[in-house]
Every structure is written in structure tokens, then in C-alpha cells.
Amino acid sequence: MTKTLTREDLLKAYRTMRTIREFEERLHTDFATGEIPGFVHLYAGEEASATGVCMNLTADDHIASTHRGHGHCIAKGVDPVGMMAEIWGKKTGTCKGKGGSMHIADLSVGMLGANGIVGGGGPLVCGTALAAKLRNQPFVSVCFFGDGASNQGTIFEAMNLASVWNLPVIFLAENNGYAEATSSKFSVACDNIADRASAFGMPGITVDGFDFFAVYEAAGAAIDRARNGGGPSLVEVKLSRYYGHFEGDQQTYRAAGEVQNIRDTKDCLMQFAHRVTSSGEIAQAELDAIDAEVKALIDGSVVKAKSDPKPTEADLLTDVYVSY
């Protein structure tokens, strides 16, 4: 079942993808100055996945994310201004500066958190989905995970559990080809991660992660199925990250020109813009206007993040417990 995307939907999808790209490109630039603390794992290049999936979700649906989570956060509706402040370690951040890049969460929009543990989110979405099922609510849960996490026992356990409990869960494998510096051609023992679905009694499909429309349709079908009581699915999205595992990774394990070639021929924003302008649905000027607005938003978020206050000693021991 293919849902029709309205003009507003297309503009929203483009804005989301552009916001993620701008956010990540800006972090890449700023990280190089040495001002941004900690580890940052960028999602640039993978925007069609988070956007194509989350365009099928509402704030009542839940997602679990990964260490490469900025794109999932933005696509699920977390405020990028708060996110930027969080990444800069500021008190005004989404998590008051206590989580950082790898732990951005906002349960008010159904975002269960980026996760510093590879494969950590699989069991958690079984829980949010179980809650929806027990309460007879039509909410689904999506676990984003990478090709690295696809080899973790937690993901296997979660897929089995979701299937035996018939839970409304979508396991969304983002196969970007590398788990840190190790190729998925080496680390994944089957041709496609989606091939593993049959072992857990669920459908599996592999789609082109550079194509927003392909992701939107495949994820949408799996989400509709889950929402209607059909149980879990595994959707594998094949895509590429434009930067290293983390910022500072020299990526010597990649082929020369690999990323540039993808940027030039497959980039998800480029393909999206070409398609919607060629069809006459959207004018290039409208996309350009979104680009400008997004740039202003991200610029503003950085200015604010830089000047916002850091947490103080008074914040060190708060929020460990609800009550103790």
C-alpha cells in the first residue's frame, strides 16, 4: 500500500533531510576547531533513512536510536537548537548537558534515546511496543540499528521476542557498510541483513537507502502492518555515511574517492530534489528557500550553544534518582 505524499509532505521531508545535513555538516566543521567536547558520530549521507521512516510515525510512536543518532532525533521531532546545545555540553541542552551526542533523548516526542551501546535499543522497543499492545493503543516502535549491531545478541533476542509476542516493532537496519572500521562484507555472515528475518518468523526487505521514496514506502508498509496487528518486520536500508565512524577518523579503510563518488551520483538530497522538481511538484526556488531557512536555524543554534551557560556544580548530583 503506497501512501500518497502531498506537496506539504514533500516539503517537510526535504526540510527534515536538509536540517539533518546542515546540522551534521556544521558539526563536522566545528569539531575540527577542537571546541566540541567528546565523541561525535555524524549521520550525513543517511538522511533518507531517518526521514523516510519517521514520516510514517506520529509523536505517540517510539523510536530507539544509535550512537549515530542526530538524524533520528531530528526526524522524530527533537528540537535541533536544544540538540546543538546538548552537544556543546550546555545546561540548555535537550538533556541539560548530562547526556551529550550519544544520549540525546526526548520521550515527549517518542524518542527513546540515542544509545552508546551498540544494539542496546532492540530490547527497549519490545517494551514500548508491549505497552502499546497491552493498552490496545495503535502505536508502533522502531529500532534503528546499524550493520555492526546486526551481529549483537540483543538484536537477535529482540527480534525473536517481538515475533513470539507479535509486537508492533520495526527493526530498521541501517547498513552503511562499516561497523567502525570493519566492513560489513566481512562481519555480516549473510548477503543481506534482511535475510535474517526468516529466522525470526518475520518478513524482511532490503531497500536503497539513498532513495527517500523507497525507504518511505518500504518502512510505511512495515509500519502499517505492525499498526494493524501484523507483527514485526525487518527492513534493511543500504546507504553510506559521508564521514568517519567518529569525527577524527581518517577513514583509511575506505577506497579512494568512495565517498565523493557517492556524493556525486547517489546523494539522497540531490536525488530527492531532482525528482520533485523534474515532476513539477516543487519549484527549485522553494527548496532554495528551505535551504536558507535551515542554514539560519543551524547558524542560530550554534551561536546560542556557544553562548549558553554550562551546568554547574549544583547540577552534578541531580537527576540520579526520582527520589532517594
Binding site: 520521550l107 542496546g120 505497552a131 502499546a132
Partner: protein, 336 residues
């Protein structure tokens, strides 16, 4: 006189009453009903030792069997708690912590802090612990010290049926993740337990016996052993004060330290291995905070730095005995 029931029945009653009170309370784990998908009886087991027996039919759909998949279902309990359920996940033996620790200490324990206080994870993880069942090295450990080390977790170690019921009810109502540990040798222990529902606050130690000569702090099953020792020592004219912390996190340091200031002598009895244990933790606390009150070196009575052995002769040597507690108390009393 109040009604007497066993420790095991007290736990079952607490779960039953809380499930009746709040539809968000669910029980999940391996064979918590038993028989799911099988041709025979549903609720065949009610947990491996029958602790949850009978709840399956009383609370339809809320006593949920799981695959043997601890990381999966403990994580699912944590995820469900994030959206307002109050799951009680049974880990069966605490030793199985090893296959799901990430979900407990990296996920549940840290969400609230990492997310800037914007989440609550009201999950309870129940597990059996302790030696004495000839269950050998992988089914006999204590491990409460490991959970106690982790900020964000609360850790409960009831020593009797009354505390088991009141502390489990508090655990379910509490808005933080709670590790609730049940000593398997206590399941058949009988005690007076009110039929009505009641909650015992965390972080409030029980002074099990009053005395002025030596303070004995004992954890879980070791409270019984300390009582045996204290009765014997009373005959020798040594009056022991026994403190049962009831929760190791939060730990009621005030009650412990006030007692040590009164008696000037401290013996800590902890069934677990000695290194980085509750015994060493409490001993360190007293040494740092009330050193000036001490009349003798602090003594720790613990298991050994070895896995828990199988053979009964070895296991009985491993478990702290009343005789060892008596010897430790006497040594503090005789110290000059």
C-alpha cells in the same frame, strides 16, 4: 496474633495486591506462568520455585512468559517502564545478570541522569540469590554489591517475610529501577505478615536486636545467622545490637554509624565474596566516619574469594556461620 505466612507467600501476595491495585503492573520472566504454548496446563510452574503461582489466572494477560532471553525481556521491561508501565521482571537466578547486565546498568540505571531528569524507569527486577542449595558456582552468588555500586539503581535484600512484602510493594510503587533480591534459603521462612497492603520505605534499616557491646550489621539471610550468634553470645554476657540495612542502596548509614558510636565495635556479616563487598563498604564507612568511637578493629565475616563450591562439606565451609560470627564478636570484645 497476626497471620503467619512464608517469605515466598509474602512475595506472591505483594505482587497480587499491587497487580490488583494498578493495571500497569505486569509480571514477566521465564516460566513466571509456565506452560505457555504447551499442550498441558497453563500456569504449570508459577516461576521455577512457584513464587508467582496463581497470579496467571487472577490477572489475565499480565503474567507473561518469555523465551530464555534475559537481555531481551529485561530490556523490554525497561522499555515498557519508560512509557509508564510498572513491570516486574524476574531474572530467576541473579547469576544470570551476566547475560543482561548492559540493559540494567547502561540503560535502566542511567536513563534519568543521561536524559537530564526527563525520564522515569519504574521497573523492578526480581532475582533469587545466595548459597546453601548445593546449586554450585553459577546459581549461588549474592552480587548485590555489584548493583549497589551502580548509581541509579536501588537494591533491596529483605531478610524476613514481613519485610519482603512491604519492600516489594514499595519497589513496585517506586519510580526508579529497583533490584529486588530474594535469598532462596529464606523462601520457606515463616513470619507474621499483615494481610493488608503496606509499604516499607527504602533506606531505613531495622534494628533487629538491641545491645550495647557490639554492633553486627548483617545482610539478607545473614540476619538469621547473626541472631543465632547473638543468642549464644548473650549467654556469655555479650550484648549484640543487630542491624539489618534492608536496602543496600540507599543505605541507612545513620542507623549503622549511630550504633557503632554507641557500642564502639563493629562486625559486618555478608555472604558474598570479601573483596569490594558490602562488608568492606560498611567497614570502610565506619572507619572513615566514626574512627574515634572504635574500641577494636572492625571485623568482616564473609564468604571466600572463591566461586561458591558444590559439595556440601565445602559449601557449608563457604557460608558464614553463627560460629564464625561468634568468634568475630568475641575477638572485638577481647581486643585490648
Amino acid at each position: 496474633m497476626a497471620r503467619k505466612i512464608t517469605y515466598q507467600q509474602a512475595i506472591n501476595e505483594a505482587l497480587d495486591q499491587e497487580m490488583s491495585r494498578d493495571q500497569n503492573v505486569i509480571v514477566m520472566g521465564e516460566d513466571v506462568a509456565g506452560g505457555e504454548g504447551s499442550p498441558g496446563e497453563q500456569d504449570a510452574w508459577g516461576g521455577v520455585l512457584g513464587v508467582t503461582r496463581g497470579l496467571y489466572h487472577k490477572h489475565p494477560g499480565r503474567v507473561i512468559d518469555t523465551p530464555i532471553s534475559e537481555s531481551g525481556y529485561v530490556g523490554a521491561a525497561i522499555g515498557a517502564a519508560c512509557v509508564g508501565m510498572r513491570p516486574v521482571a524476574e531474572l530467576m537466578f541473579v547469576d544470570f545478570l551476566g547475560v543482561c547486565f548492559d540493559q540494567i546498568f547502561n540503560q535502566a540505571a542511567k536513563f534519568r541522569y543521561m536524559f537530564g531528569g526527563k525520564s522515569e524507569t519504574p521497573v523492578v527486577i526480581r532475582a533469587m540469590y545466595g548459597a546453601g542449595f548445593r546449586a554450585a558456582a553459577q546459581h549461588s552468588q549474592c552480587l548485590y554489591n555489584i548493583f549497589t555500586h551502580i548509581p541509579g539503581l536501588k537494591v533491596v535484600v529483605p531478610s524476613n517475610p514481613y519485610d519482603a512484602k512491604g519492600l516489594l510493594i514499595q519497589s513496585i510503587r517506586d519510580n526508579d529501577p529497583v533490584i529486588f533480591l530474594e535469598h532462596k534459603a529464606l523462601y520457606t521462612m515463616e513470619g507474621e505478615v499483615p494481610e493488608e497492603s503496606y509499604a516499607i520505605p527504602f533506606g531505613e534499616a531495622a534494628v533487629v536486636r538491641e545491645g550495647h557491646d557490639v554492633t553486627i550489621v548483617a545482610i539478607g539471610r545473614m540476619v538469621q545467622k547473626a541472631q543465632e550468634a547473638a543468642a549464644e553470645l548473650q549467654k556469655q554476657g555479650i550484648h549484640c545490637e543487630i542491624i539489618d540495612p534492608r536496602t543496600t542502596s540507599p543505605l541507612d548509614t545513620d542507623t549503622i554509624l549511630e550504633s557503632v558510636e554507641k557500642t564502639g565495635r563493629l562486625v559486618v556479616v555478608d555472604e558474598s565474596h570479601p573483596r569490594c563487598s558490602m562488608a568492606s563498604d560498611i567497614a570502610g564507612l565506619a572507619a572513615e566516619r566514626v574512627f574515634g568511637s572504635l574500641k577494636a578493629p572492625i571485623r568482616q565475616v564473609t564468604g571466600f574469594h572463591s566461586p561458591v563450591p558444590f559439595s556440601d562439606t565445602l559449601e557449608e565451609l563457604y557460608i558464614p556461620s553463627a560460629a564464625k560470627i561468634i568468634a568475630a564478636v568475641q575477638s572485638t570484645k577481647e581486643y585490648k
